[in-house]
């Protein structure tokens, strides 16, 4: 298997007495940097792999990285005192950098890849603020995820304020179930900061309450999400609708696309997404799994409905070989680099460079029977 550079590794860490979030810079770049020395780790490539040193009066060192690929100049890393774990919180050049807002959530989706925990984790707000101040100013995009980020309320407003100050040109994508935005005042507070560069990505699983509420496991959630979407539309916020494709959502997928066109014609993008085999999705496999090869007709009906009506639509997380050929132009390489793999069969596949591949967590039971490499001959005119 190839791909997937992880976001964590172990190393010998010395000289830190509290959790530190620091910017890794090459010595050349550090010279011109506006950052004070105590915020920086200088990157040096040695025979035994890279080592990192904090200059100045509070020297710290990171050596003997178990996976040499994990940390590169430009990254933002977290060091913990007395521990060997080094985590990358921002990776320069990655298109999938994400701030983790909270583990709390007000929904409990059947296929949640990041099952919520009801713990007080407000310390994450300071961590996010810190990371934002260390991200490259030229960074094109940054995500915010959870849990349900909007549960932070005013604290999320602080985070967005910081982004608009430190990263005024960065596109931000926030994953939210949109329910809290049924509160018009909160919607107005949050959706007007950094407005033109923020996309609120809101999942919708059905065109009727029964279905959506079943998938997110909260009665009344459908109504709240629709009210929230209405507020976002009213505030001219940018909105993406996300639909995860599985056994429960497929039967009414086409109808859902029509519902989006009729009720939410203001949305900027619709993403139809293959299932990520993580978290609850694994526990609920029996209720959720359907081979993508078996839902191509439903997927095509929805995609073409939206496309013909001028709503931009993409297919995420599905490899090309399982897709109806007519749908290839809509497929995106959407899986974050650090969890994206291509199994050995893909080695000789001629469309590999355009293919989304697989989640690293997808074992054989999550693989479509349609997976197979393509050869040049198949594309000869």
């Amino acid at each position: 298997m190839t791909g997937a550079v992880p976001l964590h590794t172990h190393a010998r860490v010395s000289g830190v007495d509290r959790p530190e979030i620091l910017k890794v810079l090459s010595p050349e770049e550090a010279v011109g940097s506006h950052l004070p020395p105590q915020d920086v780790l200088l990157f040096a490539e040695g025979i035994d792999g890279p080592s990192l040193t904090r200059p100045g009066d509070a020297p710290a060192r990171v050596e003997d990285l178990r996976d040499r690929r994990v940390i590169r100049p430009g990254d933002v890393v977290r060091l913990r005192p007395g521990g060997s774990l080094v985590s990358v919180l921002y990776r320069r050049g990655s298109t999938s950098n994400t701030l983790f807002a909270t583990e709390r959530c007000n929904s409990l989706c059947l296929m949640c890849s990041q099952p919520p925990r009801d713990e007080d984790d407000r310390w994450r707000v300071d961590e996010m603020l810190r990371v934002i101040s260390l991200v490259d100013r030229e960074e094109l995009q940054l995500g915010i995820t959870g849990g349900e980020p909007t549960l932070l309320g005013e604290d999320l407003a602080r985070v967005l304020d910081a982004i608009s100050v430190y990263l005024p040109d960065t596109q931000v994508q926030i994953l939210t179930n949109g329910r809290t935005f049924a509160d018009a005042a909160l919607a107005e507070r949050l959706a007007t900061i950094h407005r033109d560069r923020t996309v609120w990505a809101v999942p919708l699983y059905g065109d009727v309450a029964r279905l959506h509420d079943e998938v997110v496991d909260v009665e009344g959630a459908f109504r709240e999400t629709l009210d929230g979407l209405y507020q976002l539309g009213r505030l001219r916020a940018r909105v993406e609708i996300r639909v995860v494709l599985h056994q429960l959502t497929i039967p009414r997928l086409a109808q859902l696309s029509a519902f989006i066109y009729r009720r939410l014609p203001f949305v900027n993008h619709v993403a139809l997404m293959g299932l990520e085999p993580m978290g609850f999705a694994k526990t609920n496999r029996d209720r959720l799994w359907i081979d993508p090869a078996d839902y191509q007709a439903e997927l095509a009906a929805a995609v073409f409905h939206l496309a013909a009506r001028g709503l931009p639509v993409s297919i995420y997380n599905l490899p090309l070989c399982v897709l109806d050929r007519r749908l290839w132009p809509f497929a995106r390489q959407s899986i974050s680099g650090w969890k994206n793999i291509y199994p050995p069969d893909c080695k000789d596949c001629v469309v590999r460079d355009h293919c989304a591949g697989f989640f690293a967590s997808a074992g054989p039971t999550w693989r479509s029977r349609a997976v197979r490499p393509f050869q040049f001959e198949e594309f000869a005119a």
């Binding site: 065109d207 009727v208 309450a209 029964r210 279905l211 109504r223 629709l226 009210d227 979407l229 209405y230 507020q231 539309g233 009213r234 039967p251 009414r252 086409a254 109808q255 696309s257 029509a258 519902f259 066109y261 009729r262 009720r263 939410l264 014609p265 095509a300 009906a301 929805a302 995609v303 073409f304 409905h305 939206l306 496309a307 013909a308 009506r309 001028g310 007519r326």
Partner: protein, 457 residues
């Protein structure tokens, strides 16, 4: 689409519908799930979107610059005066006053349409009005459009150059092949068809191939050959046709025995013409029936077509105003024709009166009683009402009451017939037809809609 049995179930025992059918209806707001009888904000917003024309005020302003015409069509005696008659032209003062009214309308888009009679007989007045409107708009900053309904006979290269300069859209009447057209539209030299074709060629040279649209008046004589009519339009190089029954107004009523017919006959004609047009599209030749396009936009999209004659609340007065040659203002062209027969109930007032006063006139108050389709007896329980409209002018003129009686209403018979046919075709689900319908509804070319995707049924 609901079949008859599901229709009854929906009305009386919704719990007996198949679950997936119930879901379809619930998602479209046609059936409310237990315990949530209220509309969500989004449903309200969707409703506002469909009715957004309401906030704008009158957008279409029709100027009857002269009633004179050199044709004497049997179905149109009301709308014409003899070529040399005196006192049938609009005065400059009235024209300027009418422009005051136009710019009093808050509508962000304004269309000024010239009608007659034959407006080209007073092209000097057309010029004056266009130039004055453009001057006024330099400050008003609206989206300003012009159009003109003409036989094209009197438009020479100077006039056409002016049309091009100001983007004046031309529409003309072609009733069918020469024999039919000349019989229905006699001019002194009995060569109306030939001269319209000459005018068409001149106009296309200046304005481009799609610079002129045409529509036939479908009389009883035309009913026999729908395919021939469509073929005639094709042969003339048109890529669309607007099929409308002959208007039941004014003097034309006296000749109804000769030219009129039951609306069922028109619907039968329409269905055959539409079938033929759909076949052309299926064979790869884009050709549009404009009225189907309007109805399908209402059916298949969340938006209104903008068409003023099929709205609820009705477009009369609220969406369109007609400034007659004599300085009287009417809520629609039909109202003007009715008034020409002596029925003055539909006159809003004099063009020197402010727009607010005109819209506050007794005539408007009278029409309002029948302006909201959702509240009219019959329409209030009709499955087609979201896509249909109200026509208080027609019902006021023919039934004597703007509310009207659906059982004998030709407006209703026509729309009932067309909606039934279109919904049946959608339910049949032939992919080629759905592709054509989707393209029309979305106002796109059929080649842009390679795959219509899911179509609600």
């Amino acid at each position: 689409m609901l079949d008859a049995i599901d229709g009854v179930r929906l009305a009386e025992r919704p719990y007996e519908l198949a679950p997936s059918r119930r879901d379809d209806l619930e998602a479209r707001g046609l059936l409310t799930p237990l315990g949530s009888a209220d509309w969500s904000e989004l449903e309200r917003a969707a409703h506002r979107t469909r009715k957004s024309f309401l906030l704008d005020g009158p957008a279409l302003h029709i100027f009857v610059v002269t009633l004179r015409c050199d044709h004497s069509c049997q179905y149109c005696q009301v709308s014409r005066a003899a070529l040399t008659a005196q006192g049938f032209d609009m005065s400059l003062t009235d024209a300027e006053a009418a422009l005051d009214r136009v710019f009093e309308s808050p509508s962000p888009t304004l269309t000024i349409e010239f009608q007659g009679g034959e407006p080209a007989l007073r092209f000097d007045l057309v010029r004056h009005i266009v130039e004055s409107a453009v001057r006024r708009n330099a400050e008003a900053g609206r989206t300003l459009r012009f159009s003109m309904v003409s036989t094209l006979h009197h438009l020479g290269s100077d006039e056409l150059a002016f049309c091009r300069e100001h983007g004046i859209h031309l529409s003309t009447s072609i009733d069918g092949p020469a024999q039919l057209h000349d019989a229905q539209r006699p001019n002194p030299t009995r060569d109306a068809h030939a001269r319209t074709l000459e005018g068409l060629a001149r106009a296309r040279e200046v304005l481009g191939g799609d610079g002129v649209v045409a529509l036939p008046t479908v009389t009883r004589a035309a009913l026999a050959d729908p395919i021939g009519l469509v073929e005639h339009y094709r042969a003339l190089g048109f890529r669309s046709i607007f099929l409308r029954p002959v208007s039941p107004y004014g003097f034309a009523r006296k000749t109804k025995r000769v030219h009129g017919y039951d609306m069922d006959a028109f619907v039968g004609f329409y269905v055959r013409a539409l079938d033929h047009i759909l076949n052309l599209n299926a064979q790869g030749e884009p050709f549009e029936e404009i009225y189907a396009g309007i109805l399908l936009r209402h059916i298949l999209t969340p938006f209104h077509s903008g068409y003023v004659d099929l709205r609820s609340p009705a477009g009369a007065g609220l969406g369109v105003l007609v400034y007659n040659y004599d300085g009287q203002v009417y809520p629609s062209d039909e109202a003007r024709m009715v008034a020409e027969t002596g029925d003055r109930r539909l006159a809003l007032g004099d063009v020197q009166t402010s727009l607010d006063e005109l819209l506050d006139s007794p005539a408007m108050a009278w029409l309002r009683q029948g302006a909201v389709a959702e509240e009219l007896p019959g329409c209030d329980r009709c499955a087609f009402v979201p896509f249909c409209g109200a026509d208080p002018v027609y019902h006021g003129a023919i039934h004597g009451d703007p509310v009207g009686d659906r059982a004998t209403s030709e407006f209703c018979a026509k729309h009932m017939g067309l909606f039934r046919h279109l919904f049946r075709s959608i339910a049949d689900g032939d992919p080629t037809t759905l592709r054509t319908f989707t393209a029309w509804a979305l106002g796109k070319s059929r080649t842009d809609i390679a795959e219509p995707g899911y179509v609600e049924r």
